[in-house]
Symmetry: C2
Subunit: 317 residues, 2 copies
């Protein structure tokens, strides 16, 4: 191997996930108290709008001028996302009760929007960024240190407490999501689980929030053991994904399973099974004889499963 990068696939796995490929230039090091007003004054500024959990679309267009946005209702929590090639990009939320003429404007949740391909792929990452931040502001009107009202600054990337002077920053919650793999050759199997809330027939990777004081690898081992009773040895990072429900960072891994006797966490999982590579391919292709489905391509679990299923005769992709 000539360099540390020679082993990497030509196309970055993370870039293929839903909500990735965010092309907004954040210029985070230049954010200041007046960045937002300056950007908004630019005639090329455009806003992504939300009402509650839903983004607003006109046809396939998620962007509104400031004038168009204010005509719809009062804008709370305006945020400067950054700059696209066409100018500043911002986000704002309308109050939940704001009436909308749904003949002209369609409110849509970000999951449906991604699965349907309702907007151009260049908007998905920006909408994920916008949704994580607007949700954070809605849930952080008050200072968690002293209980007093806070105010937004730094283009929406900080909230300050005038009373106790605490500064609060947006949070991103790391989640580990992993495919445990056991055995070799004809005996090789992958571990997938099913939560009761999933659509019928869908099985996915196990996943859980990383906790304070653990490495990614330790979190993968802990969650796999807690949910399925499977011990994990080596862990290999695969890809990451912003997941705006509301603000997770999905960290996708393959995990070397050390045993095959599943002890399912019944509160968490409705079922948990080992699958062959042939079955994984059928699930991904929608041809599994039992109608078992993989998660859709927007989900990182699809990418984690595909990377294993696509290995052919055992050669790493």
């Amino acid at each position: 191997m000539e360099s540390l990068f020679d082993g990497l696939p030509a196309e970055e796995a993370s870039a293929r996930n839903g909500y990735a490929r965010n092309t907004i230039d954040r210029r985070s090091e230049k954010r200041g108290a007046d960045s937002l007003a300056t950007a908004l004054a630019d005639p090329s500024a455009r806003l992504y709008l939300f009402r509650g959990d839903k983004a607003l679309l006109r046809g396939t267009n998620p962007l509104f001028s400031h004038r168009e946005a204010t005509a719809l209702g009062e804008l709370a929590d305006m945020i400067l996302l950054g700059w696209s090639e066409s100018g500043p990009r911002l986000a704002a939320a309308l109050a939940d009760a704001t009436p909308i003429d749904e003949a002209l404007i369609r409110p849509i949740d970000l999951r449906s929007l991604a699965v349907e391909g309702a907007v151009g792929p260049e908007h998905l990452g920006a909408l994920a960024q916008a949704r994580a931040l607007t949700n954070w502001h809605i849930r952080h009107r008050f200072c968690s240190v002293c209980g007093q009202p806070t105010t937004m600054t730094m283009g929406g990337y900080r909230r300050d407490c005038p009373a106790c002077k605490a500064e609060h920053f947006p949070r991103t919650d790391p989640v580990v999501i992993m495919l445990a793999i056991h055995g070799k050759g004809a005996e090789e199997r992958c571990l997938l689980g099913r939560q009761a809330r999933f659509i019928p027939g869908m099985y996915s990777c196990l996943a859980g929030f990383l906790e304070p004081g653990e490495t990614i690898e330790d979190a993968v081992r802990r969650e796999t053991f807690e949910e399925a009773g499977i011990r994990v040895g080596r862990v290999r990072y695969h890809a990451s994904q912003p997941w705006p429900f509301p603000a997770s960072l999905m960290i996708g891994c393959h995990a070397e399973a050390l045993n095959r006797d599943i002890i399912r966490d019944e509160a968490e999982l409705e079922d948990c099974r080992w699958f062959t590579r042939a079955e994984a391919r059928q699930m991904l292709a929608g041809t599994h004889p039992e109608g078992i489905k993989s998660p859709p391509p927007i989900a990182i679990a699809n990418s984690i499963l595909s990377a294993w299923a696509g290995m052919g005769g055992g050669a790493a992709g």
Copy 2:
């Protein structure tokens, strides 16, 4: 390659970082409202204690029985970390003003504690977990949604708002930390920067908080460009580390630099330079002729730099 795991080093890079190797069994799926009281009633229960930012030690022992702990002062924010082989492990904070007989008990910050090796390595991960959580509770007495006081539950892994019913979970902040590498063979160089707050002579990897709506790889590219004007192509995950100042998850990567002309962010970095592999080895060994130092082994930057410097004639470690 026979399996996805064959390319991984025998010893996991993450496990070599400071505060890693946390052997506490968290049993997170079994946490309930009464877990803490049950664990504390176990005569083998032991507590890690903090006063402000500092852990309390008796000699090299960071553990106190419940009786010993309450004799020192009122315990706030008691948390159930989980179980060691010797019994339940908890953490608690004494009020900042609590007097301590420093002839018997030594308060020490977690950085000094790790650098000095002041406690056995089996305690470092548990102390990081404890510190992240005690700090989170201190900063979350009030509900960020409605401003009312919150109460701790689930062994310290949740705070509930009796007024608006919001549930709040501990946060862990993902940080990307990366070594950009440019060129091949004799021209290969790595990029290190120096912040004014560093100890004299120390250079380290660039780093920054991952923001909502970006992948790990995108965050590596954004931070490297913002801090040093260097464009990054491919990104390779190296290792992760819990970093309890107060609750970060360090995500360490190697980054393929596409240009060599540095444009330093002067607000962030006092200096930023390219180093040869020979220099990197000297820095790690403490023999650099200009007295330039690498970060200490407890920091993931040391591991990221070592992995590159240790490649010898270009072979990946």
